[in-house]
Amino acid sequence: MATGHNSLRIVGGRLLDGLGGEYATTSLLIRDGQVVAVGEDADRAAADQVIDATGCVVSPGFVDLNCNLREPGNGQKGKIATETRAAAKGGYTRVCASPETSPVNDSGAVTHLIVDNAALDSPIQVSPLGALTRGLEGELLSDMAGLVAAGCAALSNGSRPVANARILRRCMAYAQTFGFTLMLTPLNQALAADGYAHEGRVATRLGLLGIPEVAETAAVMEMLLLAEDTGVRLHLSQLSTARSVAMVAEAQRRGVAVTADVAMQQLVFTEEALAGYDSRFHVRPPLRTEADRQALLAGVRDGVITAIVSAHQPHDSAAKQAPVGATEPGLSTIESVLSLGLKLVEAAELTLPQLVAGITTGPARVLGISNGLTAGAVADVCVFDPAARWSADETTLLSSGKHAPILQQPLPGVVRHTLCRGQVVWSAD
């Protein structure tokens, strides 16, 4: 893993610092895990190792706010070792680990286990997310301060809603006391019921059980009002509807401390992906309409949505091999996020700087981390070739989950090198 080199120069690449700055063929000098110089200063200094980034983009390492590593407890679906290696190949230098493990990450002991295992097995940084309520059951507060002290980056409800608004309000008030960030996936479970697809024309055509748009928007509205009431720092995870984006934008205009993310799959696919009963596209929240997709893209472009997440959910093959309604939700995405994003860039739906900000500095800011590529920053770096093509299949995917969104087709974007704290943790060559 370690290269043994103290200093390293990346030359010839197009530098996107994730902060809006963009430089053609600029060098970056890294020493002892830090960026020490950018541009001509970097060219002048001596370096032990040189990476030729000609034709490549040099960006901050990617940061994921929503990733399932499946450890502890679900080794048949994934492990820290496999999923973080897949993440490094995908360009990531930090992933937030969902609290939905077995046992749930609702105590300092589980957090310590994840942190310790990551120190042994992960080439990249792992930031655990603590469970907001005990067992994620939505009834009792978890030991929030204990979880954060043990290393949790924020507190989350995973994909399990807190049904009782009184308890949610108390979670927020308690978290606000200590200045913790809540990362909540908005869903009204009573409205979602047994649904597993967007309630709309495709679900009606295929006879799938629908999750109505209002199952999300009713929860977004409730969360925004409660956040405003309690003053908590709220981050809404995985918005899927146009109306949610509008409500978040309105709250932001009024000064509510709310940020939001969207899963890359929501920006690329719609409900139509389920035609033919492709159970890979059974995801939560469900893929919705083209109008929703357009509004989510606009939300990213306008800065209402500051982070694009992987929502990586590795599964064993049996979990996905059944009629759609009998399968488990989620795609294996961590190795495909960059490629899907570049397809959006190729389609002129996002600019390259918007994409890079959405997967680097945007999510980092939600975690209170600064990661722009400037002198003095931690050297978490991704070097990717946006024009190179690869194809996802059983053999190329490192994740235990082989149900990537686009399989056996040429995809743009190959990560040449991923550097975490100055160490090369992935090289394609």
């Binding site: 024309r201 055509r205 006879g207 799938l208 009998a326």
Partner: protein, 336 residues
């Protein structure tokens, strides 16, 4: 109307013949008419003393019912036997899958029995698609009802019943009344009526029993049954499950019957000679008044008879599609 190109490729051979029968989505008027004509020819078989024809002799048909059903399964069994097939009935709802075996594993076991056709009923929408994708080439899959998605043989036997009385579909105004939301039958009927050229298809129900965007399948929503009965040529009543009251979809059977039940009064609003249909089993006094169900305009029992003929038609057509495709593939690989 939206079509699913995916189902089209899965259930038709390269030259447009049936090889599976999963959904009516994407099937054209010619093919549906072909099914009805073939079924007509089998009705004559049912009237003979010796009712068998040898079209599926030596073939094994497995009735794979993951959801229990007596009527549909019996007519499929009878249809397969009249085609001279060997029939195996497997009621999976009480066996393997309830012991935790996955659908894929159940299929692997069944394939070892060298069957030629699976007739599948499953509570999950898309289960027959899933099975059609996973079975060995050459095995035909017939959908006998999947979740809320489709029940194509039921819809085709309804079309046969309509054609026997009305002779063609052009100009026909048809209403489907009741629990559209949970009905795979209604979805397949809407497909079939559109493909065959019906003039107007209305779905009549309260909003709680209508799926969202149902209009996209090619029908018009009508909340008021009194309005909806006007100028009708055919009215199809759907079965109402008792558990719909518990799910807060309806207040009571009594109120449902008053507003959406087919009484003689409401039937009098339709065109004279309007056919009354019901896929069965009927709830007298819930969806339909006894006098209407047993009355002169009711063709409910004809529907049952036609069920055997339509299933014989679909089974024989899918089997011959598989056989022809196999011989075509063999020729192609031989030519290489």
């Amino acid at each position: 109307m939206t079509h699913d190109p995916y189902s089209h490729a899965l259930q038709l051979t390269a030259d447009g013949q049936l090889r599976h029968f999963l959904t009516l989505d994407g099937l054209g008027k010619d093919l549906l008419t072909d099914i009805l004509d073939t079924a007509d020819s089998f009705i004559e078989v049912g009237e003979r003393t010796i009712k068998n024809v040898p079209l599926l002799r030596g073939r094994t048909v497995v009735n794979l019912f993951f959801e229990s059903s007596t009527r549909t399964r019996s007519t499929f069994e009878l249809a397969a036997k009249r085609l001279s097939a060997d029939v195996l009935n497997l009621d999976i709802s009480t066996s393997a899958t309830s012991k935790g075996e996955s659908l894929s594993d159940t299929l692997l076991n069944l394939e070892a029995m060298a069957s030629d056709m699976f007739v599948v009923r499953h509570s999950q929408s898309g289960a027959p698609h899933f099975i059609a994708e996973s079975v060995t080439p050459g095995v035909a899959i017939i959908n006998a009802g999947d979740g809320r998605h489709a029940h194509p043989t039921q819809a085709m036997l309804d079309m046969l019943t309509i054609r026997q009385r009305k002779h063609n579909f052009e100009g026909l105004k048809v209403a489907i009344v009741g629990d559209i939301l949970h009905s795979r039958v209604a979805r397949s009927q809407i497909r079939a009526l559109n493909a065959l050229g019906a003039a107007e298809i209305r779905v009549i129900a309260p909003a709680t029993l209508l799926p969202s965007d149902i209009e996209a399948l090619g029908c018009r929503v009508e909340y008021n049954m009194v309005e909806g009965m006007r100028d009708l040529d055919v009215v199809i009543m759907l079965r109402l499950q008792r558990e719909r009251m518990a799910g807060a979809l309806l207040p009571s059977e009594r109120e449902f019957y008053r507003l959406y039940g087919l009484s003689q009064d409401k039937l009098a609003l339709a065109n004279p000679g309007c056919l009354v249909m019901h896929p069965g089993p009927i709830n007298r006094g819930v969806e339909i008044e006894s006098a209407v169900a047993d009355g002169p305009q009711s063709v409910i029992l004809n529907q049952v008879t036609n069920g055997i003929a339509v299933r014989m038609a679909v089974m024989s057509m899918a089997m011959s599609g598989q056989v022809e495709e196999r011989s075509r593939l063999r020729q192609e690989s031989g030519a290489l």
